[in-house]
Structures are given as structure tokens and as C-alpha cells.
Symmetry: C2
DNA sequence: AATTTGCATATCTTTTGCATATGGATCGTC
DNA sequence: GACGATCCATATGCAAAAGATATGCAAATT
């Protein structure tokens, strides 16, 4: 029967290209390692290594196997970690993720503050990443839940709860002629057609990027994307530097960025930044249950107001 | 150290909900199984099962772990299979996949025939699936190579070689007024704007579906998709039944489907069905090398003619 | 209260993974 | 061309660990 030991040994031998050296690295002697490799090859029914006078070399079968073996060993580590985390979760630990654009939203910060106050014993660990990475982390049980934007792709595995829709604002340099207008008046999206646009796009996943492009298309023009930034804050820095304008969620406007003004958009633009909570579909007990209770109550309160 | 044995045992116990019954299923006695489960829990540092008077029940940690354990055990099986296949490949075995729309193409059938003739000792195993499924199978080493349509998504892992572009024909019922026209004259895509269209779409992946929609958009109209079929042949049956027209690769026209006529499209439509070969990026030796040699020679020959 | 059910503990047996010692093949060097 | 070095394979012994048997203990059923 094949065991993880065989995989660990095969990977070590493949990496060292030497049975003897691999044995040293594994902290065992050479003969037993030779034995185990032979046993593995017998179980598979195919040679994984070509024995050569100066070491060993992977066969085609070996390459195919060792690649997958590495993944299996990594997955095993992850499984152990996930179990540990789930167990700690029952006793008061919670790992939460945010997209960078959600981190400053008062809803999110409010929930976190309330968790701290009402259950100070629960250790919170926070992580910032893109929506795509967060979804992946929740699926892999590396996070208990994540605040994400645009629940675009439905995943059977996850429950994605829509929390609220946030208005999006136009960010433009202070010295821009439009920045002097009455700040209460709303402007139309199409009036920005000629402005160079700076957008925020993470390497993984679509997120808000596509919604903005789509809204511009709906407004009858194709935006001139002057630059793409990988972090939302750097988008604002580029705006301040006068390279163009941008469109960001309202909560980002709370960051006092010198040199940036904000304008409200016409409601007709239909441009909103949805905020959602993603979590595993499995029954949520323990600390995650506490978080969900707080979140759902706050969503209800908002609806009432 | 955690071994696959622990995972196998944990999965069995989780599925049976009983240590005793799981032991029977595993062909061992109850006490050693209890021991191994304990050892696993100790290694993880968290209990996976809640011992109850009438059996055992998964904890939250247990659920997280067992789910991943199942995947790991499956992956291990796949790794072994992949290694076996790779090994057999060296000695003369080759697993090839097709999309259903490529299976009848003379290029593909020609390559297969030549393989048979020049290397009859090589055992070919063929599989038909959608482009998406085939790509996945090649990535997972379940197939050595696959003839696919539209190499849309670039994958770091794979080499996708474009082989040729095939013309696409309009398929329409015999009794359709247009079917009586001179078969040599080409018709424009836009002249089909009002016809109900029957398209072929596999549940997974885009494939030709999107190219057709895109070409119609480019021609200035949005096609009326009357029906979608999951197999290309059933598309033709629906056409024969008079439910609408369709657009299929030229090689499909070789299937003599009673009641279906074909018309050539205007070149301006720019509607072609690309045929490509997908394979792992790894150095291709053995039987796969033979196949590649035949394929590249034939591509060159075509270019010459 | 008695019986059954099912996991845990204790002790013994057997398997097997690992160590030590040695043999054999190939390469480089004198 | 012989010699030593390098590296894998084979042989044998030992010790750790997986598994078997017997028994204990707790909760639920009757």
C-alpha cells in the first residue's frame, strides 16, 4: 500500500538526483531508501527513476508522479492546518479576509469592533487580498469568512451573502476644473468619457474593474484606461499626481488623500460597489456563528433605517 | 508522521459513523483502528471525532479534514494512474482526446490512420469530450494530447499548437427556400439575422458557441438562439427537423444527414473553426513524440499546398 | 437491574521500516 | 590497464509500530 512516506521519499530523491544524498537529507540511511523507492515502483508497476552510474534520473512516469506527489504533500499540510483552524475556531479564533477596498468600510470596521467588544476572548486574524484570492482561501478553509466585492461567480461550495450596495464616487485631482463645482450636484458618467481613467485591477479575478467598464459601456462610451494599478490606494496617489481620474467606492473617500477631490455620480449610472460576505456552506457554529449573528443583525438594522 | 493510512481510516470512520463497523470494512480489528485515529488526532492536535455512546460523530475540525482527505486519496490514485500511463506511453500506448466536432475532421482521422499504419504496435485509446474537459484531462495527465477547438485560454502548463482553420457552413433544412440556391454562391452572415439559430454548447467551456455569437455581433445583429443542443450531431437532427438553422464546421457536413443542406458563408463573416492540439509542456518523448512528428509534418504539407 | 452496544485500555504477536555490512558496476585518475 | 572513488543493490539483524486478542468501562435499551 502506498503511503505518504513513499511520496516524501520520491520527491526528495527527485530533487537531489541522488539516493544517497536524499537519504542524508531525510535523516535515514541509503539502503532503506533504495528499498522504499523500489517498493513504490513495484506498487505503481513502473520505474520512476533511471539508475545511472552517477545518480538517478526521473523517467517520464517519474516526472508525472513526482509533480503530483508534491501537490499531495502540500494538500496534506493544508488539510492538517484546516483541521487545526477549525478546531481553534470552536474555542475562539477566527480568520477574516477583506478586499482592500472593503477594509475601510464602516460596516466592516463596525462589525470587527463589535466582535472585539462582545467577545474579546476571540482572537481575530485578518488578511487582505483580492476577491479572487479570498474566495479561494475560504474554499480551502484557510479563512473562515471574507468581505468581498461583487459576488460574480456562484460557487456551489460557498454561501455568498449580499450585505449592501455602496455608492461609487469619482476621484479627481484638486486642480481639475470640475473639482470646483458644487460638491452636492451629481454628474453623469458620460460626461467623463474623455477623461483618462485610472483603474484598480488585481492580477486575479475581475472585481470592480469589470463593473466600471460595463457601466461606461452602458452609458454609451468606451473608457480610456490610462493606467492600471494593483492596489486601490496607489490608484488614489496616481489621481493626486494628476495622471487622470478614477472611480472608487464611497468608503475609500474617507481616506484623506491630499490633492484628491470627490464628486458624486448620477444615480442613472447605476454604478454601485456591492459588499458581500463569503463563507463555506457548512453549518456555521462556534465563533463564525457569532460573527454571522452580528453581521445579519447589522444588515437588518440598516434596512430598517 | 501522518500517513495515507490515517486518511483512509479517518474517511472510513467518518463514513460509517462507527469505529467498529469501519474496522470491519477495513479488514482490521477495532482496537488498532481506535489507536490509529487517536494517533492522527494527536498529530493534528485536535479531535476529529466526538465519541458518543452509539458511535462517533465528526467535529467541525473532522469535517474540514475528512473532506480534504478524500480529495488527497483520490489524487493519489490519479498520480499512480498518471505514472502508469506515462510509463506505458514509452512502450507504446497513447491516449488522445477529441471534441466531437473535431472527430470527423479529415486531418484528425488522417493522423490517426497514419499512426495506425506506421506504428501498429502503439495502442491508441480515444476519448470524446468537450474542449474544457479535454484541457483538464491533459493537464491531469489522463490524456497525452487532445484535438480541441479555439485555444481560448492560455495555460502555462500546456502547449497549444494551432493546426488549421476550418471554414464553417450554414446548415439548413432541405425544404428551406434558400436551400435551392446555387450551392456555389456564398451568402452573408447578416442575411441570416432573422433565422432561428440552433447552437451547440457543452455544459463546460465556451468553444465555438462564443465565436459564432461574436461573429454575428460583428456582422451587426444579435442572433436569435432558438435552441441549444449538447451534442453537435443532435444540432443537425434539430436542423433536419426544421426547428431552425445552424452553423457548423465544414467537416461536419461530411456526415450525410438526411434532410440537411449546407451553404457556404461569405468570407467577410470571418467565421472559422480553429483546430488545435493541446499537450503538456513537458518534453514529449516516446509515442507522443511520434504523434507530434506526424502532426507537424502534415501541418507543413498543408501549408505547402 | 440486566443486557447490549461500542469505545478504550492492556498485553502479545507480527510485520516492516531502518541500520549495518557487503557486493557490484561505472567513472575518473595515475 | 589497474586502482580508487562513487553510488546503487543485496543481505541480514534489530527495533519500532501496526495489528490481534482479551478485557474493562460507560451509556443506552429492555
Amino acid at each position: 500500500m502506498i503511503e505518504l512516506r513513499h511520496l516524501r521519499y520520491a520527491v526528495a530523491v527527485a530533487e537531489e538526483g541522488h539516493i544517497t544524498r536524499a537519504a542524508a537529507r531525510l535523516g535515514i540511511q541509503q539502503p532503506p531508501l533504495s528499498q522504499q523507492i523500489r517498493a513504490l515502483e513495484a506498487a505503481i508497476g513502473a520505474p520512476l527513476f533511471r539508475r545511472q552510474p552517477r545518480g538517478v534520473e526521473l523517467t517520464a512516469a517519474g516526472r508525472a508522479f513526482v509533480g503530483k506527489a508534491r501537490a499531495i504533500l502540500r494538500d496534506t499540510e493544508l488539510a492538517v492546518e484546516a483541521a487545526r483552524r477549525a478546531s481553534r475556531g470552536q474555542e475562539g479564533q477566527l480568520a477574516i479576509g477583506f478586499t482592500s477596498s472593503a477594509a475601510f468600510h464602516p460596516f466592516v470596521t463596525g462589525v470587527m469592533r463589535e466582535m472585539r467588544e462582545h467577545a474579546p476572548a476571540i482572537k481575530l486574524s485578518l488578511e487582505e487580498a483580492s476577491t479572487g484570492e479570498l474566495i479561494e482561501a475560504v474554499e480551502a478553509d484557510r479563512l473562515d469568512a471574507a468581505f468581498v466585492r461583487s459576488p460574480s461567480e456562484r460557487l456551489d461550495n460557498l454561501t455568498i451573502t449580499h450585505l449592501l450596495d455602496e455608492e461609487m464616487l469619482v476621484a479627481l485631482p484638486d486642480h481639475h476644473p470640475r473639482a470646483r463645482r458644487d460638491p452636492r450636484r451629481r454628474i453623469s458618467l458620460s460626461s467623463l468619457a474623455d477623461e483618462p481613467l485610472i483603474l484598480y485591477r488585481r492580477p486575479t479575478g475581475p472585481g470592480l474593474y469589470d463593473s466600471i467598464i460595463a457601466a461606461c459601456r452602458a452609458a454609451g462610451f468606451s473608457p480610456k484606461v490610462a493606467q492600471e494599478a494593483t492596489r486601490m490606494v496607489s490608484t488614489l496617489s496616481l489621481v493626486a499626481a494628476g495622471l487622470g481620474i478614477s472611480i472608487v467606492p464611497e468608503s475609500m473617500a474617507r481616506l484623506e488623500t491630499a490633492g484628491v477631490s470627490y464628486l458624486r455620480l448620477d444615480r442613472a449610472a447605476g454604478l454601485v460597489a456591492p459588499l458581500a460576505l463569503a463563507r463555506k456552506k457548512a453549518p456555521a457554529g462556534g465563533t463564525l456563528g457569532r460573527l454571522l449573528a452580528i453581521v445579519t443583525r447589522r444588515v437588518k438594522d440598516r434596512a430598517g433605517v
